[in-house]
């Protein structure tokens, strides 16, 4: 697993207070991990902070799963 994936999952565990085993790559923040819309806004902010990237609102809206977050961040970092 990539460093990015590890770090993303760690942030999700901390912010949503869920067990690490539940944070699979496919997991949806809202449907699988009990987040609400405000939680997802905060999660995206935490990703921005941790990875030093800017995630515009229209992109943030499309990040609904752990995989979405990992993919977006890796793309930004390699860009």
């Amino acid at each position: 697993m990539s460093d990015t994936a590890d770090k993303v999952k760690k942030i999700v565990v901390e912010h949503l207070g869920v067990e690490e085993s539940k944070v699979t790559t496919e997991a949806s923040f809202i449907d699988d991990l009990g987040a609400d819309s405000l939680d997802t806004v905060e999660l995206v902010m935490a990703f921005e902070e941790a990875f030093g990237v800017e995630i515009p609102d229209d992109a943030a809206e499309k990040i609904t799963t752990v995989k979405d977050a990992i993919d977006y961040i890796e793309k930004q970092k390699s860009a």
Binding site: H15, L16, G17, L38, V41, E42, M45, E49
Partner: protein, 397 residues
């Protein structure tokens, strides 16, 4: 408190070097079993960041009250849930949260402001969180009347029940302004005690000649108010009845009470009238008594004026001497002390009252608690803006 112990101490959790007042009454940290507070025992960590401390304290007190009341209708009891409301107020709400968000803006980090900032700071979110936790779908309201908030919340909630808007109301007040910004603000208005920083338990001394301001406290008080027949029908443990409630406005000054204490007088008189009582029917008054040079004696004079010849039979104390002034939570916490005075037959003491600045026929329960026959109690709270409220509790049955 009945043993004469004080909860006031030097502030340790933030830097007070720039503040003239350096003492406060803070909720002791420890386990629930020890009678102390560890927020983690009450609120999941991931939810704590969604609420300012005043909401956390409200939620803890409400949880305690609801558990004690035994009233917790389940999901299959929709009608009961709809007849249960919440009215928890605060004097100033999420001030520390607002401060932190302001700092982010100042540092050019406006986009870092949390989506939970607004719901964390809003005063009515204490009531909101309690309703969400328990599914209480009745009236959801919040009082904001500075230091009179707690009494107004209890009194207004009781009236909502009397008006048949609800059968049960979870009511009270919460405050957590013992932070640099809260302390600095009250220091600036010259309201806080500054002469006892080296001897914190002596700082709050209502009616004593050496008093020099109030000591800030934090906390929450929440009670479960219930329509009497509703409570009897389910065999509830009834601590006391709310039988009177009175309010008034000073129409005078933003922070100072009127020089004749007339606002306090009219609030107490209105409470007695609403209960169809005379002063002789009250055995104990839990005073507003904040330990400010001006306010204490004005309240005393107002009580003397209303009680007249009955003053000599009355006990009146200020429990702020032991826990400080909890601002918007004060009236709710002191309402609970008033109810416990009835239950236990004890008037709690006014600590540090060694030399009254003004003599009075009223027994101010100096230094030591007094066993007394107490069936009916009046509790006062007065707030900035010239808002006054009095509430009367009577032994049930």
């Amino acid at each position: 408190m009945l043993a004469g112990e004080s909860g006031l101490a030097a502030i340790q959790n933030f830097d007070v070097s720039a503040l003239p007042a350096k003492i406060a009454g803070q909720v002791p940290v420890g386990t629930r079993a020890e009678g102390k507070l560890d927020i983690n025992e009450w609120i999941p960590v991931k939810d704590q960041k969604k609420m300012d401390r005043f909401i956390q304290l409200a939620l803890v007190a409400a949880t305690d009250a609801v558990e004690d009341s035994g009233w917790n209708p389940g999901e299959d009891q929709e009608e009961e849930r709809c007849r249960t409301g919440v009215m928890i107020g605060s004097g100033i709400g999420g001030l520390p949260t607002i401060y932190e968000a302001s700092m982010l803006i100042q540092q050019g980090k406006t986009r870092r402001i949390s989506p939970f900032f607004i719901p964390s700071a809003l005063i009515n979110l204490a009531s909101g969180h309690v309703s969400i936790k328990y599914g209480f779908k009745g009236p959801n309201h919040a009082v904001v009347t500075a230091c009179a908030t707690g009494v107004h919340a209890l009194g207004d909630a009781a009236r909502l029940i009397a008006l048949n808007d609800a059968d049960v109301m979870v009511a009270g007040g919460a405050e957590a302004a013992v932070a640099e910004i809260g302390m600095a603000g009250f220091c600036a208005s010259r309201a806080l005690s500054t002469a006892f920083n080296d001897d914190p338990t002596k700082g709050s001394r209502p009616w004593d000649r050496d008093r020099d301001g109030f000591v800030m406290g934090e906390g929450a008080g929440v009670v479960v108010l219930e329509e009497l027949e509703h409570a009897k029908a389910r065999g509830a443990k009834i601590y006391a009845e709310v039988i009177g409630y009175g309010m008034s406005g000073d129409a005078y000054h933003i922070t100072a009470p009127t020089e004749d204490g007339d606002g306090a007088f009219r609030a107490m008189r209105a409470a007695l009238k609403s209960a169809s009582l005379t002063p002789a029917d009250i055995q104990y008054v839990n005073a507003h008594g904040t330990s400010t040079p001006m306010g204490d004696d004005l309240e005393l004079q107002a009580v003397e004026r209303l009680w007249g010849d009955e003053a000599k039979n009355l006990a009146m104390s200020s429990t702020k001497s032991a826990i400080g002034h909890l601002l918007g939570a004060a009236g709710a916490v002191e309402g609970i002390f008033s109810i416990l005075a009835i239950r236990d037959g004890v008037a709690p003491p006014t600590l540090n009252l060694h030399n009254p600045s003004r003599e009075s026929a009223i027994d101010r329960v100096a230094l030591e608690a007094q066993p007394r026959k107490i069936d009916t109690v009046l509790s006062n709270s007065f707030g900035f803006g010239g808002t006054n409220a009095s509430i009367i509790f009577r032994r049930a049955g």
